[in-house]
């Protein structure tokens, strides 16, 4: 039973990276496809579309930082359940935020392609989604610190 609890703890440590990577892959793929489509329709400004389509990659970076923070905590049967809960739930939050951010970026690319003057404003929904990923990231670090204490 103890081994199982420890295994769950390690699952929690790696979950933010794994789930964050899944979310970022889907989000960047969706946004990248939209950017490729937009490039067929416009004559210039390709760079900003490609740059924007990389926005959902931040979630996997947050996941890596969380993984290193959680991995630094001594893994015992007391700390493992906490690491499992924090890691898994943060990973799920990062994954979904990346997927939906990709869709928001695709919509922003579509809108700004037709109306270049709304480019800045059209990124706002994707930036708000990014804010939720940052919440999950910051409070995962705070809660992780509580476990180690």
């Amino acid at each position: 039973m103890e081994d199982f609890i420890i295994a769950l703890g390690w699952l929690g440590v790696f979950a933010p990276v794994a789930l964050g990577a899944v979310g970022s892959a889907i989000g960047c793929s969706v946004a990248g496809q939209a950017a490729c489509g937009a490039m067929l329709d416009v004559e210039s400004g390709y760079g900003k579309f490609v740059g924007l389509s990389a926005m959902p990659s931040s979630q996997v970076i947050y996941g890596i930082v969380i993984m290193f923070t959680l991995a630094g905590i001594n893994m015992t049967t007391n700390s493992a359940p906490g690491l499992f809960g924090i890691g898994l739930l943060t990973g799920i939050a990062l994954m979904y935020s990346a997927v939906y951010q990709g869709q928001a970026v695709a919509a922003a690319i579509n809108a700004s392609k037709n109306k270049p003057e709304v480019f800045g404003l059209s990124i706002a929904p994707a930036a708000i989604v990014e804010g939720f990923a940052v919440f999950a990231f910051v409070f995962a670090l705070v809660m992780g610190a509580n476990i180690s204490a």
Binding site: V30, Q33, G37, A106, N114
Partner: protein, 227 residues
């Protein structure tokens, strides 16, 4: 995540601003077809079916109505999406309503055949033949305008009213579909409306009218006195 296949296609299509202010289509049919080639084969087949159902360009002058109704039923059943089936039903119902209003305006009685048209409301229309709005003023609020246009023979306003009704319906649907196959179909149908509106030409219309008169007169054409 099957929907992701449509992101590239839909963002590659230029925005269609408005119907009546358009002077040309935002993309040529050749370019549109090239972009639509990104669709999987099954989607392309469905799109062709829907276009065949909703457009009359490919029909001959002698249309076998019974065959057309059977074909519409068959093609409709092959559409996999409920949203698209509803859209097709709405357009076919619209055709049935306009046909009923025109027939009634010419003094014709209600059809005797139970399956006299296509869509989903033909039986209801037949049973409400004598009601001024066929009992469908709620579903089709433009019926009184069409009645008035038929009475005053204002065919331009009639055509604009019908095009505007279809445009609004497609616009309403497009708010619920952004990056899926339904959005592709809605785009193509809107493109077709713009294409139809921008291709209206007085000279071509006159030429087509003379052609139809010649077909109607047939062998009697030569017996007419020359003007």
């Amino acid at each position: 995540m099957a929907d992701t296949a449509y992101y590239t296609l839909l963002t590659s299509l230029p925005h269609i601003d408005s119907l009546f202010n358009s002077r040309i289509t935002p993309i040529s049919r050749f370019q549109l077809d090239r972009r639509l080639s990104m669709l999987p084969q099954a989607d392309r087949d469905t799109l062709v079916n829907i276009e065949n159902l909703l457009h009359w360009d490919h029909l001959d002058n002698d249309v076998d109505e019974e065959r057309l109704i059977r074909l519409a039923e068959k093609l409709r059943q092959q559409i996999p999406s409920q949203t698209l089936r509803d859209l097709v039903d709405w357009r076919l119902d619209m055709r049935t309503v306009v046909s009923a209003l025109r027939r009634r305006h010419q003094g014709e009685a209600a059809p005797t055949q139970p399956k006299w048209s296509y869509g989903s409301r033909y039986e209801y229309i037949r049973s409400h033949w004598n009601a001024p709005t066929l009992g469908l003023a709620g579903a089709f609020p433009w019926i009184p305008t069409v009645n008035e246009c038929l009475r005053t023979r204002d065919h331009v306003t009639l055509e604009k009213t019908l095009l505007e009704a279809v445009w609004k319906q497609l616009e309403h649907l497009s708010t619920r579909h952004r990056f899926d196959f339904e959005a592709v179909v809605i785009y193509v149908l809107r493109w077709n409306l713009v294409s139809r509106w921008t291709s209206y030409d007085e000279n071509k219309a006159e030429s087509r009218f003379r052609q139809l008169v010649d077909i109607s007169l047939g062998e009697f054409r030569d017996q007419l006195p020359q003007v």
